[in-house]
Symmetry: C2
Subunit: 590 residues, 2 copies
């Protein structure tokens, strides 16, 4: 449904006041627009120092969402973003989130920002999702320097959050700012959602996806930063999202738990749980239900080749996760296929049993085991549910269990993939080409695991862009988290370039969704009106819609000679062939 | 070691001041002693109304130890016992117990009473264990009347605790009181331990068994009330105790838990836990380790016959426990053999996994499953441990598991049985015969599950008497808990009779354990000295060691006409043939 590929050419608009016809044909404006983009990309190259400094400010905030003590820091970081967005004429709302953690009532509630920049009803609307929180990090975990102090070394930027939400947020803020500084308006309408509970499963945000439906009505496409580079040199554009089905398997032996040595005659649900779970998997912990495994779309020859080029070291992987052995003794591509392309089953735990430290005499009589099956295209929740239910009930019958079985789907989200020739995918390819001068790799067989994107897909149902940010990570709390500085700068440019490319796609009339949407006046219309009043030679300064002079107003900028990043940026940088082709000033700097 | 059967005849005493030779030979005093016992039994028959009233007072106390709110009630009940014991010249100590429950610091700590009545170094010392707490009970659970209000109906006494600790405590207090009222001294030395945390596993008491070693030094035998009647008419004297071995089976896949859909390549400990647990049991949930099952002592022909006479209804059993089906479709005796005479395995839960309500994405990487194997004679912890460890490690190897296995014994206590011709067992048989006029059934194959007795056995290591109180119960929180009034009165008499019988056993000199024990003066010696001063015709009233006039001092006794129990006691009572043979006034009353 959300796949927008059928929208090219755009459908005829039937609303009486439609402004779509006012839009200049794409062919005529494309040269002008491309010139505008080049100006922005050059501007980005000239402000990299300031961008790194801003990243440094964000990294310094200990936005550890899993720790109640750092809730104020999360709110501070969110306020920083809010201030930046408001300066850029975004209309910003925040909504409170009560995590219900059992802490003092004086602890501040967390918030999520919903921001909106409306340029024109004739333009496409991009929703950017980003976040500011990070997993916990301490030097003693193995960090070579303070995780909350940005450090540059050998062309890499080290710091907690640089390769995840914080980094992406800074990129988007600067791409937007550069565009506004150069052209006083954005080429598209932009909405931003910024949260600080990403690492906590975005609980509160899910709720607002349903409550604030009107915010999403005019969104054309949602973009997520995606750690999908398969090696140092290959941004990979992923066109698929993993889903999941979390099951509750309840086994009930009686009405109440028994105490002491009361067993012998009663069927014990804990033992039945173990028997049923055991029946679900084989000795390699693979799901035994063949119908579910058969639903998986096979990899293409090209995707196999892509896996072969992946920068993956089995040793590093085990080191990072602190494990001794992998389930498979296979070559790199086969291992990565198991990890990225296949479904698997994970058991989380058992509710209602004795789970505290120490010993117990409790005989639990109703327990619920919880497990998740990761879904990859084309596994569908409904079918997987039916197969799991069938399997468990027939095994329960076969094993003649004396406890009563009930299964529940506790949480689920379908896997999802979209075609490579979707118009937004094509725009993204062009956006990446504008920066990298080569075509990104495309895949839907190598599945992206980004639950928040899947949740947006489920609740908001709009097309999705997974904009490649940096390399795939094996776990969220990686030690000595880093991103190549060049990769970071290129992402700022890719963000700007994506806005440009989306502006080249014809927008559709949304009057059927929002009353007289086409009649709305955005910043573009106001600017146009002001320009026509002042005449073509009107002084620019008077008509820039009160957008503050951003570079001057940023009082926090430190003296360049004191900046440790400045030193790094003057150091020789690992040059890559492809990077040297990048236009603008980046070659001079790195 | 604690088996005392080799003590007859008593060993020669080598201490210089030994008073053992002062003791009159058993043959000469037995007639006198038997007359004394008859006086006490008659006195008990004459005070049954007051005994029931006291039971009513105790039942009214909501001593629910599992609920923090009722901690003050537990302390109040303990104070009632303390007052009673102090009136009877017991020397009472209390020790505080910190359960470490996360409640307000203002909540009172629980206590355990250690009381001591020392009559003479020439007498045996009996330690009585009893308790006052009960499982929770509410009318809405299915009680026909308020569980904390004693109700008499059809010859049964209903109320929470009547068939457990509260009932037994009242019986012992009154048996002692009647003996003191009749003879101003007890025939033996008595020590009593009263606790209010029995239902919570007697945590604090276990600790004091080790700390207060000196309290237990001169104890000859410990008596526990035992719900071991196999039907309405057969008190069963059990000579065996079940033990247990609680294991922790830790499976470690990595150093830290993973989050999200991180599985696929790592071995997941939760799945391995289920596979190992499944390998431990068969489809009937019976332990697969045959060596452990083979250790069980077979039942004698007589014990089989005993099981056949048991009053057990499969329907009632399932009803009480709220279960639908039993693990076996067998006849009554075979079912009871499985329940009472066999070993079994119970799984309590898994530590360190996700055990809260709701769904999770957690992938636990180190978990510990906990299970207990109930031990019956002659299963020994050490051997069972070795077999379980062998089995698990070889299965772990056989299944080629990628996680690391470690096993722990979290808690254990050996099973234990003692011969029927043990001198304390023989005394107990005679004590029961004195009241019931027939020999109780004896068994060690039908195993008593009384963890507190097993713990005393483990920590204190003294001979044990399991004095049959009322019928076996299937669970501790039985609805409409009751005891036949006649059975209750007979237990008071059995307690008195047991004291008499133990006084007939020659005591051993304890000077090797306690310095100059034989030189200690007890109440008997003081009484003797006073008597000899006053001459044989001395006025009794002046020499009764300040023991208060118990019946008069009890101000709380209500008007007999208002007492609902009085009405019940005047009602016709279900007469049993054997009961009619009971001497004294009970026939007039029931």
């Amino acid at each position: 449904m959300g796949d927008d590929s059928q929208l090219e050419p755009p459908p005829a608009c039937h609303c009486t006041n439609c402004k779509m016809h006012l839009r200049k044909p794409v062919e005529r404006s494309s040269f002008l627009m491309l010139r505008k983009l080049r100006q922005v990309l050059t501007a980005i190259d000239h402000t990299t120092d300031q961008i790194f400094e801003e990243l440094e400010d964000y990294v310094a905030r200990k936005t550890i969402s899993s720790d109640v003590d750092y809730m104020p820091e999360c709110l501070n970081a969110l306020d920083m973003v809010r201030g930046r967005l408001e300066k850029m004429k975004f209309y910003v709302n925040d909504y409170t989130i009560n995590l219900g953690r059992s802490v003092c009532s004086s602890d501040p509630l967390q918030k999520v920002l919903f921001a909106d920049y409306f340029s024109s009803p004739t333009k496409n609307t991009l929703l950017i999702y980003t976040y500011l929180d990070v997993p916990k990090a301490k030097i003693r975990d193995g960090w070579l320097s303070d995780p909350f102090e940005l450090r540059a070394s050998d062309g890499l930027l080290y710091g907690r959050g640089v390769s995840t939400g914080k980094g992406m947020t800074v990129c988007w803020l600067n791409a937007i700012e550069c565009w506004l500084k150069e052209h006083q308006d954005l080429p598209i309408n932009v909405k931003i959602i910024v949260e600080t509970l990403h690492e906590m499963g975005s609980t509160g945000l899910q709720q607002y996806m349903d409550i604030k439906k009107e915010f999403f009505l005019d969104v054309d496409v949602i973009v997520f930063g995606n750690n999908s580079w398969i090696n140092d040199e290959s941004p990979v554009l992923s066109c698929s999202l993993a889903g999941w089905a979390t099951f509750g398997m309840e086994l009930c032996g009686g009405d109440k738990h028994l105490e002491g040595l009361a067993g012998g005659l009663v069927y014990e649900p804990m033992i039945d749980v173990c028997q049923l779970m055991d029946s679900l998997v084989d000795n390699r912990q693979e799901l035994r239900i063949s119908q579910i495994n058969q639903m998986v779309k096979p990899l293409s020859h090209h995707e196999w080749e892509l896996l072969e080029t992946a920068s993956f070291s089995e040793y590093d992987y085990k080191e990072k996760l602190g494990i001794r052995r992998l389930r498979y003794e296979l070559g790199k591509a086969e291992l990565l296929q198991q990890r990225w392309c296949h479904s698997n089953i994970t058991m989380h735990g058992i509710e209602n049993c004795f789970s505290r430290p120490g010993s117990s005499t409790m005989l639990p009589m109703t327990v619920m085991a919880k497990f998740t099956i990761k879904l990859v295209p084309d596994q569908v929740v409904q079918q997987v549910h039916a197969h799991v239910e069938d399997y468990l009930y027939s095994k329960h019958e076969e094993l003649k269990m004396g406890t009563t079985l009930r299964t529940y789907v506790l949480d689920s989200c379908d896997s999802f993939s979209w075609p490579f020739d979707n118009r937004f995918t094509k725009s993204t390819i062009r956006a990446i080409e504008n920066v990298f001068h080569f075509r990104p790799e495309l895949t839907s067989g190598i599945v992206t695991c980004l639950p928040i994107a899947s949740l947006f897909r489920k609740h908001v149902n709009k097309p999705i862009i997974l904009l490649p940010y940096t390399q795939r990570m094996d776990c969220s709390d990686v030690i000595n988290e880093s991103i190549p500085a060049q990769c970071f700068v290129n992402y700022v440019k890719t963000c700007a370039s994506l806005m440009h490319e989306l502006s080249m796609l014809s927008a559709k009339c949304k009057c059927d969704l929002i009353y007289e949407y086409c009649n709305r006046r955005g910043n573009a219309e106001i600017l146009e009106a002001a320009r026509s009043t002042m005449g073509p030679s009107g002084t620019r300064k008077n008509i820039i819609l009160q957008i503050p002079k951003l570079s001057q107003s940023n009082d926090k900028r430190r003296d360049e000679t004191e900046n440790p990043l400045k030193k790094f940026l003057c150091m020789p940088f690992r040059r890559k062939k492809k990077d040297q082709e990048t236009p603008g000033g980046s070659n001079e700097r790195f």
